[in-house]
Symmetry: C2
Subunit: 361 residues, 2 copies
């Protein structure tokens, strides 16, 4: 792949005399790059560094482009479209989220938008289960004890490091899992929890999480659950042993999990956020952990990320496990996302069917 400025320059130059459609790739897509570089029908302009491209580079290079492949970092707005000019037909983002794209403007200018839903469902469900287990099992404290070399000095006793058990036992035979947002990822997470002995499922949320009694009956029968029910936010807080936050972000869900919600939760419950950081009030969650309203938390997304310092109130809470937004970070899934983004781009540029095209509402 071209990764020197000379190579970039020659790539930029070539399109001036080429009849092939120009496409701009804003990121080094690593192992997925051969899928692009092997194509001879496109005039590729690739940002070769292993970092986000600069805005100046993008504005300069998008001139006359037919397509552009972006990530969450690139703002797709009037300035960018104006720089591209009337040739631009497609914007393909390697992401599920599209907050960085001015969708109404895209519709107005008749520019197609590709994105990468679905392919990350399994990876995020895996991480949701991992964080639920870590939050219950005191993983932060346990891991730090070994890492700091303090294991030898530790005064063990029979209930040391104990936390609530995710799986049921004969003496503790029921578990209620709550989903704030019960779309694809929520249902994939639920499927993974079935062998742990989960008995009750509650959910609420918007649109895709609306009550669906036929679906719920099917889920209940398939997994032999005692109940799968749409519930109020109040009931979700009061009854969940493990609560998964998997709802979209935005104004409608902003701080839906606040101190009022958290105060209603069970003292041995754990909260997992692999959805959107803005749904949970981080200060309220830190208070809930410090004052033991709930047992633990597992966090992949956090309001204000990545500007999270070591003295952020949640980072300081020993029963809060935080990972840096790695929900979809597996080789398989990122490769699938990159492939999907490339396929969307190429189809859009050549006027074909895009595997995942966002249709403006």
């Amino acid at each position: 792949m071209p990764n020197s400025s000379n190579q970039r320059l020659s790539s930029v130059m070539s399109h001036l005399t080429s009849s092939k459609p120009k496409v701009v790739i804003c990121r080094n897509l690593g192992p997925a790059m051969p899928l692009l570089m092997d194509r001879t029908d496109l005039d590729l302009v690739v940002w070769g560094e292993d970092s986000a491209c600069t805005r100046a580079w993008l504005l300069e290079n998008i001139k006359g482009a037919t397509g552009v492949l972006v990530l969450l970092q690139e703002m797709v707005d009037a300035e960018l479209l104006d720089a591209a000019g009337p040739s631009l037909r497609v914007v393909s983002t390697m992401s599920v989220g599209t907050d960085h794209i001015d969708l109404p403007l895209m519709a107005k200018r008749n520019i197609r938008v590709g994105y990468t839903p679905d392919v990350l469902t399994e990876a995020v469900a895996d991480l949701s289960v991992m964080l639920a287990l870590m939050a219950g099992r005191n993983d932060g404290v346990a891991y730090s004890l070994v890492k700091s070399g303090d294991w030898p000095k530790f005064n063990w006793s029979p209930f040391t490091f104990c936390g609530p058990q995710l799986s049921t036992t004969s003496s503790s035979p029921s578990r209620t899992v709550g989903f704030l947002g019960f779309g694809r990822i929520g249902q994939a997470t639920l499927a993974r929890l079935i062998p742990f002995g989960i008995t009750h499922v509650l959910y609420t949320g918007r649109s895709t999480s609306a009550p669906d009694s036929a679906r719920d009956t099917a889920l209940r029968e398939k997994h032999r659950l005692a109940a799968v029910e749409h519930a109020s936010l109040d009931r979700l807080a009061r009854e969940s042993d493990i609560l998964f936050v998997l709802t979209p972000g935005g104004q409608d869900t902003y701080h839906l999990v606040d101190s009022v919600f958290l105060r209603k939760m069970k003292p041995l419950s754990v909260l997992v956020n692999t959805g959107r950081g803005t749904v949970v009030d981080a200060d309220a969650l830190a208070t809930a952990l410090r004052e033991k309203w709930i047992w633990g938390a597992g966090i992949d997304v956090l309001e204000g990320e990545p500007r999270i310092s070591a003295d952020h109130p949640l980072v300081k809470e020993p029963r809060c496990v935080i990972v840096p937004h790695i929900g979809s970070a597996t080789f398989q899934t990122r490769m699938d996302m990159a492939t999907r983004a490339i396929d969307n781009l190429v189809a859009g540029v050549l006027g074909g069917n895009m595997p995942a095209e966002l249709v403006a509402k």
Copy 2:
């Protein structure tokens, strides 16, 4: 519960004039203590501190006892039995392991032994899944990045923090899970992995892990797996994407996972040890991680624990996640273990059926 030396003294004194059988409890069993303290038919002597009892205290207090409840820290040997005298009928340990008990001597002196198998199966299976996920998902590195406050400075790129995905995807549709030891915990771990899309299962080990084609066929059909097969150690190493070490310790399994074994493993495989520390050569595993013979490791048990310092070669490996032997550490399971140990003790003292009596082979 008596936790001052005066209370202990009065408890000790009372047995001198009591006709009730004397039982010695070597540990504060926390929330399980009321199960003992509420009994009026026993003469209880309880070590009241929240630590292991001293040997001197135990040797002094066991005189004339009918039963004793011990943990892994208490050596049950000729010295202890001699100190107890001919009244001793039962030793109940709150553990699955019995390496601390001289079993041939117990048989010779006709002293019954109770232990706590089975009740920890679910908790250890939960932790095995957690460590498999953590080892694949770069959890050690990801967690440390946030904890150290370096998240804001981090140069994200599309394949940052990626590791091998536990669950299958349409573009990566097969996973082989290997079990070195395929008893109860192994099978409970496998059950939890089914919804992740596992396709092939290989196992080997001793006694309970012997080939069992009827059982394997049943497992394969029940879980719709492509294969469940007993395999050689060589094949287990070469084909496993995720390898669980769950075999008993002792001479027969000492360093079964050594550099020869590890060199055969796949570069994207992960190893999880929730069995016994001695089965894995820790130095060889550190080399395997450093030189990228395998992808990652999740460790709950480690040879030489708890004397593991911060400069232990595995503690220093970024792709090795270590927790301090917390396999059974949940409130539910430790309570079940304590209850079982108490029930064994009481039944043994009163001459009844013990829920889990170890029968000498």
